[in-house]
């Protein structure tokens, strides 16, 4: 356990290998192997560390490792006049919440690395190495985010995963939509990071430390800000702004659906299972802080449930298989925030875990479908794939049932826990959450029905290759085109005209199953199906860790996670004013032991109610499933007539509530106009000053040049000229004739002698 810092480092080494050497030298297999090997090693270490963590007594399940100083101690004048110290170590901390997250990231990360070796097999060699380099780098930063013991180390990971997300969304950077989506994700995230970093500054300003544990303990000693909006509320609100960016909540959720431009394993790993849950994780990490700010908690709950509802309603009508899942992810993240917002931190974290399993499963399944369809993502061109992709179908069905909340799959327990806790604290949030649950069941079964049931609606293929199928296969081989409209112009011309997109084809018999050319839908290779099966098992059993007391379970996960959401026992015992994870429950706002008991007694107290709610939510899920079955399998024409009757609403949903357009019209065009204005300012004033300086210099040097030429050179020339002119007569004496000189000498002698004689 001393070596937990190795866990993030291993994928980092893999990334360095693949990035520095692999892009030039490694074959597809080698780079895949390096990436997978480092992840497997990290997973092994994670499991070992987690095992040792479990071996500790429940109250002491925390382990901190400091490997070096990042910022050595610097004395600082604090705002209250005291002398503080700015010191940031490279510290890593393993506690129950981090442990859970660690297993999710390394476990699902490993599976997805394995999956990618097959999914990316058709990419160019250097592209594969680049992909694995980014994917490993992502795991490096994500594990750092999870394990960081203070805000700054977490922030390094936080920014790093944002960077990797950008790199991986824009992996097919030649495609403009992918490059744009990458930029959109990065910039939207930056807006959230702005809030996060301000929150970190305010935390240091208030508490004088970055360490999570110290901040939690310091916050626990402050009074709950139930009546006023104090500094804790400000901190929490700013941190939540960061969380909305990373975890795609209103108003910053717009980037996540576009992020589906990236390769599907990336969508599964980053944009479903791990990175987007970083916001939820961060809120859970600072549970004590947040439970001291009930007003912000209220905001979180409302934003969460509204996001859940909005995203689910958009998901109802989307046709792109990955976009449906993307909106589903946004919606489920909203659920988690709603749970956090009502103080059910453990329930939110539990849902985070189960969601990681079934959403990664669904995304990988959709990737398998897309792979099988040769890059097709539009569900209107699928249908009846059940018989071609039996493994994918079965595993995705497990995932779908799990997300819909059918017992005894994972989603049922976590979602039900959230619904129960919201029911206890805020009825309106509960109502919206239940409506979302209905929609979730509906759109997921709509997805399943359109993809796997009914008749086949996709392009035809020729059993032995050649012809139009080969043209599609070419597209498949180069890069899976992810925009449904950009996909294989060839089949559009050849088939859409003759058959129409909605008309079912007779399924042609037999398919080649080869990998190079597309011979119709085919089951994916083992490296892709194995992670599907593993995740399906996870989606089934993950819920058993949190069987609520009402069903005879012990809600093990909640008790396991509890120490992460409470301040250190020492402080809590001394102060005795630990505000509850469930701030809404009055019984919880007492001393720690009573509170912990209260949290577990609450379900007992209303066992009948909880069972009733459970039954209700299962009923809701079944209704949603039945509705989807009726609309999309037994009577497909109903859905079309419904879409026509509610054309306005349908269009609004299809266009995602015009949020992108709204942002384009306000924020983006505003920013652009501001930028243009600044550019004009830049050009006119700043450049003007610079150019003016330049002109001034030119004129000055011109004057200086004239002075030099006429005054200085003039003076020098004048001296020469004067000497020359003055010597005009004297130089005549220099005849060069010796006898002249002798004569002059003679005259001189005569003159002097005469003068001598006369003057004497």
């Amino acid at each position: 356990m001393k070596y937990i810092w190795l866990i993030p480092l291993l994928p980092g080494v893999g990334a360095a290998l693949n990035g520095l050497v692999g892009i030039r030298a490694f074959s597809r297999k080698t780079s895949g192997f390096v990436a997978c090997a480092t992840m497997v090693a990290a997973l092994g270490l994670s499991v070992l560390a987690f095992w040792q963590l479990l071996g500790l007594p429940p109250d002491a399940r925390e382990y901190t490792v400091t490997i070096a100083d990042w910022i050595p101690p610097i004395p600082l004048q604090m705002h209250d006049g005291g002398i503080g110290r700015l010191q940031v170590p490279w510290g890593f901390r393993l506690d129950p919440l981090a442990g859970m997250m660690l297993l999710i990231v390394s476990g699902i990360g490993t599976l997805i690395h394995v999956y990618s070796t097959a999914y990316m097999a058709d990419e160019p060699r250097a592209g594969v190495a680049r992909f694995f380099c980014y994917l490993n780098l992502f795991c490096f930063f994500m594990l750092m985010l999870v394990l960081g013991s203070n805000f700054l180390v977490m922030f390094v990971g936080w920014e790093g995963v944002g960077l990797c997300s950008y790199l991986l969304i824009g992996y097919w950077y030649e495609k403009k939509s992918a490059a744009d989506a990458g930029k959109k994700a990065f910039i939207t995230n930056r807006i959230g990071d702005w809030g996060f970093i301000l929150g970190i500054f305010l935390i240091f300003f208030t508490f004088g430390t970055f360490d999570f544990r110290e901040v939690q303990d310091a916050a626990a000693r402050l009074p709950v800000e139930s009546m006023h909006f104090g500094v804790l509320s400000a901190i929490c609100l700013l941190l939540f702004v960061g969380a909305t960016g990373k975890s795609a909540q209103i108003p910053l959720f717009v980037w996540l659906p576009d992020a589906m431009e990236g390769p599907t394993p990336v969508s599964a790993l980053i944009h479903a299972a791990t990175m987007v849950t970083a916001g939820v994780y961060m809120v859970g990490r600072n549970a004590v802080l947040f439970s001291h700010a009930p007003m912000v908690m209220e905001i979180i709950a409302i934003v969460g449930v509204l996001t859940a509802l909005m995203a689910a309603s958009i998901g109802l009508v989307q046709y792109d298989i990955k976009r449906v899942l993307a909106y589903s992810t946004v919606s489920q993240l909203g659920y988690m925030f709603a749970a956090m917002g009502v103080g059910a931190f453990a329930a939110g974290a539990f849902h985070l875990m189960t969601h990681a399993f079934f959403k990664a499963l669904l995304f990988l399944g959709s990737g398998s479908v897309i792979h099988a369809m040769g890059g097709e993502q539009d569900m209107r061109r699928m249908g009846g794939l059940k018989k071609y992709l039996p493994v994918t179908f079965l595993t995705m069905m497990v995932g779908t049932l799990a997300i819909a909340g059918i017992p005894p799959l994972a989603g049922f327990f976590s979602k039900d826990e959230i619904l129960f806790r919201t029911f206890l604290s805020n009825k309106s949030v509960w109502v919206l959450a239940v409506v979302t649950a209905l929609m979730t069941a509906f759109y997921m079964f709509r997805l399943m029905s359109m993809t796997f049931f009914g008749g086949y609606r996709g392009p035809a293929w020729e059993p032995a290759g050649a012809g139009p199928a080969a043209a599609i296969a070419a597209g498949h081989g180069v890069a899976h085109p992810h925009d449904p409209h950009a996909h294989g112009q060839a089949h559009k011309d050849d088939h859409e005209v003759s058959h129409g997109p909605a008309e079912p084809h007779d399924p042609p018999g037999g398919h080649g199953g080869g990998h190079g050319a597309w011979h119709g839908p085919h089951e994916s290779p083992t490296p892709m199906t194995f992670p599907l099966m593993a995740l399906a098992v996870g989606a089934i059993v993950a819920g058993f860790f949190g069987i609520p007391a009402a069903l005879g379970g012990s809600n093990a996960i909640e008790r396991f996670l509890e120490p992460s959401f409470t301040p250190s026992a020492v402080h809590a015992g001394a102060e005795g004013t630990r505000p509850a994870a469930g701030a809404a429950e009055p019984a919880a706002a007492t001393a720690l032991p009573a509170e912990t008991a209260g949290e577990h007694e609450a379900p007992h107290a209303s066992r009948g109610l909880e069972l009733g709610l459970m039954g209700f939510s299962v009923l809701i899920a079944v209704v949603g499933i039945a509705l989807a079955w009726k609309l999309y399998v037994t009577n497909p024409e109903i859905s079309e007539s419904l879409a026509e009757r509610w054309a306005g609403a349908h269009r609004v949903l299809l266009n995602k509530y015009y949020v992108d357009e709204l942002y384009n019209a306000t924020v983006i065009s505003g920013t652009m106009a501001g930028g243009r204005r600044l550019w004009t300012f830049d050009r006119r004033v700043v450049d003007g000053v610079v150019n003016g300086t330049g002109w001034f210099t030119i004129i000055g040097s011109w004057i200086s040049g004239l002075t030099d030429r006429y005054v200085v050179d003039g003076a020098v020339n004048l001296v020469g000229w004067t000497a020359q002119e003055a010597s005009y007569w004297f130089r005549r004496l220099q005849t060069g004739l010796v006898q002249n000189y002798a004569l002059l000498m003679l005259f001189g002698v005569f003159a002097f002698v005469s003068l001598y004689l006369i003057a004497r």
Partner: protein, 100 residues
């Protein structure tokens, strides 16, 4: 009786001849010879007064002058030879390189 005046007249005559020779002749050899005449005019004066005044210093002086004149003749003839090799002439008017 030959008086110092006679010597001085002879000496002055030789001197005038030498000076006129230096002034008017173009041949550098002749000029050189004229310079010798001037020197020897001086020598006559020196020896004449040595004899008149019964003092040997005048004769010693004359011997020095003759020695210096010999040295001067050697140098001067060397210059003339060098000049002749370059210019193929001994005309003094051709020796005007040092004019403006």
């Amino acid at each position: 009786m030959i008086t110092p005046a006679h010597y001085m007249i002879l000496s002055a005559a030789l001197f005038i001849i030498g000076v006129i020779g230096v002034m008017v002749r173009r041949n550098i050899i002749i000029i050189f010879m004229s310079i010798e005449l001037i020197l020897n005019a001086v020598n006559i004066n020196l020896v004449a007064f040595s004899s008149q005044l019964q003092h040997v210093i005048g004769q010693v002086f004359a011997v020095f002058v003759i020695a210096v004149a010999a040295a001067e003749a050697a140098v001067g003839l060397g210059i003339i030879l060098a000049f002749y090799r370059n210019k193929e002439t001994v005309n003094i008017d051709e020796m005007n390189l040092l004019r403006w």
